[in-house]
Amino acid sequence: MSVKKVKIRFRENSNGTSSIRLNYFGGYETVNGKRKAKRLIKTLPFHLITNPVTLEQENNNKKFKIRAFKIADDWGKELNIKKINNQKFNLDSKVPSGKLSDKWTNHKSNINLVSPANKRLIDVIVVGTGLAGASASATLAELGYNVKSFCFQDSPRRAHSIAAQGGINAAKNYQGDGDSTYRLFYDTIKGGDYRSRESNVHRLAEVSTNIIDQCVAQGVPFARDYGGLLDNRSFGGVLVSRTFYAKGQTGQQLLLGAYSAMNRQIARGKIKMYNRHEMMDLVVVDGKARGIISRNLINGKIERHGAHAVVIASGGYGNVFFLSTNAMGSNVSAGWKIHKKGAFFANPCFTQIHPTCIPVSGEHQSKLTLMSESLRNDGRIWVPKRIEDVKSIRDGSLKPIDLPEEHRDYYLERRYPAFGNLVPRDVASRAAKERCDAGYGVNKTGEAVYLDFSDSILRYGKEKAHVKGLDEEDMKLVKTLGKEVVKSKYGNLFQMYEKIVDQNPYETPMMIFPAVHYTMGGVWVDYNLMTTIKGCYAIGEANFSDHGANRLGASALMQGLADGYFVLPYTIGDYLSNDIRTGKIDTSTKEFEIAENDVKSQIDKFLNNGGMNSVDYYHKKLGKIMWNQCGMSRNEKELKSAINKIKELRKDFHKNVKVPGLADEFNEQLAKAGRVADFLELGELFAKDALDRTESCGGHFREESQTPEGEAMRDDNNYTFVSAWEHRGDPSKAKLHKEQLNYEEVEIKTRSYK
C-alpha cells in the first residue's frame, strides 16, 4: 500500500495574512454513482503574514512554516496508520430509512408489537427514577409489562431531576412567534455544535408537544397567564419563547407528575418498587441482558433480579469532578457497570460547565448550587478593568458598587456584542475563566465574577414609576420599585443566594463562577435507545444521543420525558416480541452466581482493606485533577498528565482506602466507595477521549484548536463522529469506534455569537 503525503496549501486572505491548509488525498469513493476523490482538509489555527516587512515577521513566518510541516507530517502518519488499522467495524445506529420527518412515524408503524396477553409474561427492570426512569416505569407498567424499579434514594420522588429549575421546551407555538418542530430540531442540532444524531433530535422535537399535553393531563401546575392559558419564557441560544415552566421548580413538578403516574402503577401491583437499593452489576446471559445484582442499602442484602430487558436511567456523571451541581448521591456506576459488560460509552469528554453557579467558599465545600440561566436576561456580567481595583475589592477596601462604570469590564458585551450576556453556556463559562485566569477574579480565591442587577433594577423601577405616574427622578423610589419587580421574577433565587453567601444581591452584585452541571456524553445507544448489549437500554442523561457537544437550556427535561413516555415504550416492544416464549428468567444460573460473587468480593475487599484514607479523600483528589486538567479548557500536555495521575490515584485508592462499618448494615461509606471506584475508571476514559478529540466543539475546548481571537474551532473534516469506546479490561486499553454523523437536513455551519 502506497503511503500518501499531506500537501500544504497557502491561501491569501484579504487582511494581509495567509491561512495554511493541509490537504490529504484518501483515495476515491463512489457517491450517487459518481466517482469522487475523498479529501480531508484541515485549516491550521495560525496565519502567515503574506508580505513580511520586518525581520520579526519573517522569522515568525519561518517558525510557523516549520510548525505547519511538522503537523502535516504527523497528521499524514496518523491517517496512514488509521487506514491500515481500519477494520471496518460499523456501529449500526439502526436509523430507519426515509425522509427525516417521516422516520419516526414509519418506524413506529413497522416495528413488532407484543400482545396485551403476552406483556403479562414479560419483566422489565428500570434502574433510576428521575424523569426518564419514572416516566418509562409508569408507561411500561400501563402497557402491561411487569416492572421492577430501583432507586438508591429513600423514595423515587427524590431523584435529582427534582432540582431542575428553568423549564422544558416544546414546539407548541402557543405564542405564535414562528416556532415549529423543525425550528426546535434545528436549534438543538446547532446548539449541540453539530455533534448529535439528526434522526434522534428530530424525533425529540416531534414528541415534545405530546409531553406538555400529557403533563397537563396529569395535573402538573405549569405557570399560566391571566386568561388561564399556559405561559412561556425564553431561554439562551434561541429566538422564540417555547419554554414551559413552573416558577423555578419545573423539574420538581414534572418529576412529581411522573412519580404520581408511578404510584398509580405501584398501587395496581404492576410496578414493584425497590427504594434504597443500588444496582451493583448487570447480568448478561447468552449475549442478552437478563437481570441485575442489587444491594439493599438498609441491611446490605445482595439480591438477584431477573428480567427480559434492563433499562438504565441513572443520570449523568458530573460528580466525577467531585464538585458539581449534581446531588451527592448522583453516580456513574450503573452506566459504568454495563460499559464493563459490553456497552460502549460515547463522548465521555462532552461535559457542560454552567456559567452561573455560586462560587466555592472553601476546602469544606461539598457541592455547588446553580443560579438559573434566566438570571442572565437581567444581570450584567463584569470584572474590574484595572488590576489595582481587583486588589482593593479582594481586601475589602473597595466595594463593587462604588467602582465607577468606566472602570468596569463587561467582557461578554465587549467580546460578543450581538448576544452579549446571553451567549450559550459554553461560551459564557470560558469567558469567565479567561478573565479569572488573567487575574481579575473578584473573590478571595480569584475565582468569581460579578452578575450585577443594578441596571435592571433602575430600568424596571423607572418603568414602574412611569406607569404609576410617580417621579422618575426620585432615585430612592425608583430603586424600591425596581427591587419589587426583580423580586417578583427571581425572588426565590435571590433568597437562596442570600442564605448561602450571606450577602444581599439586591444591594451588591452577585458573585458567580462556572461549575459542572450536565454530561452530554453517556452510554452509546442506537435509534431504539438500545446499547451495544442486546436487551439493555439507556435513557435520559445516562445516554449520549440528543445534545451533541453542548446542551441548550430547558432541553434536558424534554429529553428525559420524551425517552421515558414516548420513545422507549414503543421501541422496547420490538425487541421483547422475541421473548414471549422465554418464560421467567432463572436467577440460579451460573451467570447470576458469578456476578453476585464478584459484587460480594468487592465489598469484602473494601471492608477489609484496612487503609488510612477516607473515600472522600480520593474523590476530592480526583475532582481536582478533573477540574484543573480536563475542565473548561484542555490541552495535550495536561490531559496526558491527568491520565497518569488518575492511574496513580486509582492504584492508591485500592491499596489505601479505608471503609468503616459492616457489609450487612446501613453503610453510606461502603456505598460511596463503590461509586468512587467507578469514577476513578471513568475519569481516565474521559481524559483519553478528550485527548483523542483534538478539535474544539461545544463544551469541549482544546487549546490547540482555536481561532486567533481565541474562539473554539471545530474540525468537521476529521471529527464529525461520535466516539464510542469499547471496554477492554482497563480504560487505557479502551478501543475507539466511530459513528459517522451524516447531516441530510441541516448544513453544518460555524457557530458565531459576535
Binding site: S155, Q214, G228, L370, D616, G661
Partner: protein, 248 residues
C-alpha cells in the same frame, strides 16, 4: 469556631438509641450544616469510629431527603429552609447543638439520624395521582383554561418536598399538612376533580392506617415547613373530606 454536638446514635431500628457527645473544632461559618457533619464524619473515620448516618442528597433544598431535628426544631433555627441550606453562621462559637432524627411512630429510625418515610409513599400510592395513561393523544394542553389564581394556589401546594418536617414538628405526629398539599393541588385543578371523592377518602384512610396522629389545629407544621405550605390546605382537605363522606 468550636462546637459541642449532642447527636442521637442508634445502630438500627430494633436497638435502643441515645445521645452521644462530640466536639468539633475549626468550623467555618461559611459551611453548611451538612458540611459540618461531613467534617465530623471524616474525624470519626480517622479515629476508627463509626460515622454518623444521615440522609441527604441534593443539598439545595428541593429533594426533601435531609431530615434533622436541630435544637428542637425541624431543619434547625432558620425559617423556610431545609437542613442542607442551614449555614453555620447561624451558630456561635462555643454553642452546644443537639441533633436528633425526625421522630414519629410512622417514621421508624433506620440508623442514627436516618428514618424510614416510606409511609409517605404509601399514602401517595393510595390516591395521589390522576388516572390517565400515557398515550400521546390526550387533549391539547390549552384545551381547558385554568383560572390563574387556582393554578397558582395549586402550584404552591404542589411545592411540598415530602420531607416530613410537619410530622416531626407536630405534637400528634399528624401528616395532615402533607396529605392536604396533594389533595389541594388536584382539587384545585379541573383534571383532578374527576377522582376527587375517592382520592381524599383513600388518602386519609391510608394516613390513618400508617398510624399518623390527628390534627388539632396547632399550626406548628406551617411554621416549620421549609416550603411554607399553608394551613389553608388542611382546611381544604377537611372540606373535601366532609363533602366526600356526605357523597358516600
Amino acid at each position: 469556631m468550636n462546637l459541642k454536638l449532642k447527636i442521637w446514635r442508634q445502630p438500627n431500628k430494633d436497638s435502643k438509641g441515645g445521645m452521644v457527645n462530640y466536639s468539633i473544632e475549626d468550623v467555618s461559618p461559611d459551611m453548611s450544616f451538612l458540611e459540618m457533619m461531613d467534617m465530623l464524619n471524616e474525624q470519626l473515620i480517622k479515629s476508627g469510629d463509626d460515622p454518623v448516618a444521615f440522609d441527604h442528597d441534593c443539598r439545595e433544598g428541593i429533594c426533601g431527603m435531609c431530615s434533622m431535628f436541630i435544637n428542637g426544631e425541624a431543619h434547625g433555627p432558620d425559617k423556610l429552609i431545609t437542613t442542607c441550606q442551614l449555614h453555620m453562621r447561624k451558630f456561635k462559637d462555643g454553642d452546644t447543638i443537639a441533633i436528633e432524627p425526625f421522630r414519629a411512630n410512622s417514621f421508624p429510625v433506620i440508623k442514627d439520624l436516618a428514618v424510614d418515610r416510606s409511609s409517605f409513599d404509601r399514602i401517595q400510592q393510595a390516591g395521589g395521582f390522576i388516572s390517565i395513561n400515557t398515550s400521546g393523544n390526550t387533549q391539547d394542553a390549552n384545551a381547558i383554561p385554568i383560572d390563574k389564581h387556582n393554578a397558582d394556589t395549586a402550584f404552591d401546594a404542589a411545592t411540598c418536598i415530602g420531607c416530613g418536617a410537619c410530622v416531626a414538628t407536630c405534637k400528634n405526629a399528624s401528616a395532615m399538612l402533607f396529605v392536604s398539599a396533594k389533595v389541594s393541588q388536584y382539587a384545585l385543578l379541573p383534571q383532578g376533580k374527576v377522582e376527587a371523592t375517592d382520592r381524599v377518602l383513600n388518602m386519609v384512610n391510608q394516613m390513618d392506617e400508617e398510624g399518623f396522629g390527628n390534627c388539632t389545629n396547632t399550626g406548628a407544621c406551617e411554621v416549620e415547613c421549609p416550603k411554607g405550605i399553608s394551613l389553608e390546605n388542611i382546611a381544604r382537605l377537611n372540606r373535601e373530606y366532609i363533602w366526600a363522606t356526605a357523597k358516600g
